[in-house]
Symmetry: C2
Amino acid sequence: VEAEDAAALSDLLEPLHPADIAHLLEQIDARDRRRFLLVQSGPLDGDILSELDENIREEIIAQLNPTELADAVRDLESDDVVDLVEYLGDQQQEAVLEALDAGDRVVVEQALSYPEESAGRHMQSELVRAPEHWTVGDAIDFLRSDVVLPDQFYHIILVDPRLKATGYVTLGRILSHPRAMPLRDLVEDTFRTFHVTQDVEEVAQAINHYHMITAPVVDDDDRIVGVITIDDAMAFLEEEAEEDILRLAGVGEGSLSDRVIDTTRQRFPWLAVNLVTAIFASMVISLFEDTIAGLVALAVLMPIVASMGGNAGTQSLTVAVRAIATRDLTGANVWRVIRREVLVGLINGLAFAVVMGVIGIIWFGSPMLGAVIAAAMVINLVVAGLAGTVVPVLLERLGIDPALASGAFVTTVTDVVGFFAFLGLAAVWLL
Amino acid sequence: VEAEDAAALSDLLEPLHPADIAHLLEQIDARDRRRFLLVQSGPLDGDILSELDENIREEIIAQLNPTELADAVRDLESDDVVDLVEYLGDQQQEAVLEALDAGDRVVVEQALSYPEESAGRHMQSELVRAPEHWTVGDAIDFLRSDVVLPDQFYHIILVDPRLKATGYVTLGRILSHPRAMPLRDLVEDTFRTFHVTQDVEEVAQAINHYHMITAPVVDDDDRIVGVITIDDAMAFLEEEAEEDILRLAGVGEGSLSDRVIDTTRQRFPWLAVNLVTAIFASMVISLFEDTIAGLVALAVLMPIVASMGGNAGTQSLTVAVRAIATRDLTGANVWRVIRREVLVGLINGLAFAVVMGVIGIIWFGSPMLGAVIAAAMVINLVVAGLAGTVVPVLLERLGIDPALASGAFVTTVTDVVGFFAFLGLAAVWLL
């Protein structure tokens, strides 16, 4: 790219997988990307666009003229086209749609009409189906005829005369049986279908849970309209897990390639929430200003109790948030889990109470100060276990993403309880 | 199970997928599981064992006699058998291995000889291979002969006379071409192989990155010895993401079905580390006991600066830890990322400095106190961005899992810097 040598560049990129080229483009800066686009010869591979991070993809699409863009997307599968156009401006979206065949365009427009995050939005329409009365031989002859087949497919889906999906057969079974064998006798007993409006994350979880390769998607009349394949489900679950991690840390959906100002903006709200909760905790402390003025050692020790509670609370809430996401924490076992977490908090609280009590006595030579910090530690760790489980469960019931909001609530609780218990007990027992 | 009615139970479970039965077993308590095993008729399905959480699986295996266990595992694929036996006691492992055919036993023993977390340990040996000179017709005739085929397979792997893997063909391509077509002309250009000792996480990442369905695993002589399939890679990546989330929160590898005492023990070390860092922060505070005694408002406000730094640091480190895991953060862009994070810290620091300065003035009526907290805020948020990126990168270079250890280091840095900057500036400017 440096030398603006088109031939050398295309020699270099030729052996690379589109996913690798996309990865390269993400690592260089925007100026080099612009030069890359100018230098590279021939049309841009649509697969590279599909593999790019969203914001870099937008940047590159903005630099392509509609014809180049249309060339790039023509050979993509329908789910990749949908993924590309769904966040484009009207004018660019129009240009892409016009570049498609009439049939493909209808499919993409149909998919865009389903809700975001639905199976219908994420399915590919390319699939192979066969009447249920066919034999192995019929299927092979059909596949060898000059029909257009998907790039990759792993099942033939059987349909009845009204296109209702009734089962599927793996290609392996077709290949290993004689031509006269009816396909109907080879269907997998794990066959299940998903409705177009179903949450795509549920479909992906089912694919993982049942080791499926292809998840058939049906419309209101049970007619097969598309499939979600395991590789897309895998990429989707990876992204979801990623988002959960980042949300738990209050980072939102950022990526390293975002601009500084976007990242700053994304992180600001979480820090602002934290500021409010921290001020709330400070107000609790200010109730005890006289107590602290009477014994400054309290100011030295008080962050320890709050910090331990915050950490224990984060442990409990992380387990709870993930268990909710993976459906391991349900209405059926929520009480058992809460009891467990409180018990864990109690045992660890007692252990650290002993440790801190001893430290309090040695450091400040005051057994009563040791007793205060010990008691506050037990109280705060029990509360941390309780809040760490109850808060995400309640948020989930209220329809709020527990990964996003639990942290702020739980640390507020542990800070407030920690400072209040420690300073309150000190005020009563010490002064 | 309550009624101990074997027939009713097996009617109920009959339509369920092994993964669902495993999930059910995980949700009920140990006593009910024991009764389930007594009541259920016939041999236990090995697939159910495969799907169970590790500790529940151990519990159930301990209750089976060797013959029952051997019956259960006989029909499993080799990677599932390896997964089952690798953590069994010697006696149980012996019993399982003896139940297998001689050939399967050799395969499992071979797999167990590879390192944990290697491709060799996780691959399945069941695969379909063909000489590279075969045609489509040869392959179909072979598959229709009475060879034993894997349950699921998606590729035929081509090998040269010395069993060296040279390419693979998807079943879809075989089915859609005439019998006379040489397989060699149908190979996928994305073919790549993985060595038995390669980290299985790398293989799974590659499967996701390149949208592969089958990853061929080869030995030192490039001979094909197994495959890792996408469904196993998907399950593996899900587990890894899960572990990263839990490690970031200092929870380790726990699951909801662990015993209370195990969970307590798992969380204890992280809380202990946190206690040490909290005490370290307290020692910083104790340097300024006289300053606090002079102005108790400092004790009220000081947790705010530390808490904001801790949160900003956690944001930066979470992004860095994930970017390292997904290979988005490399030696090539580390300086750009550090500069970015520091800049984000600076901008957010300035924003919150203004907010806190104003609050300081209004709440305590002291412009100088406002200035102190504002300056400390900027310093701590810049340090948070710096530490949040540098710490995980350094830990990674030192060969320590950054997900596990970064949190403690980063919050220590932000606590110490936060308290020191705030109280230090207060000592100099206010008193």
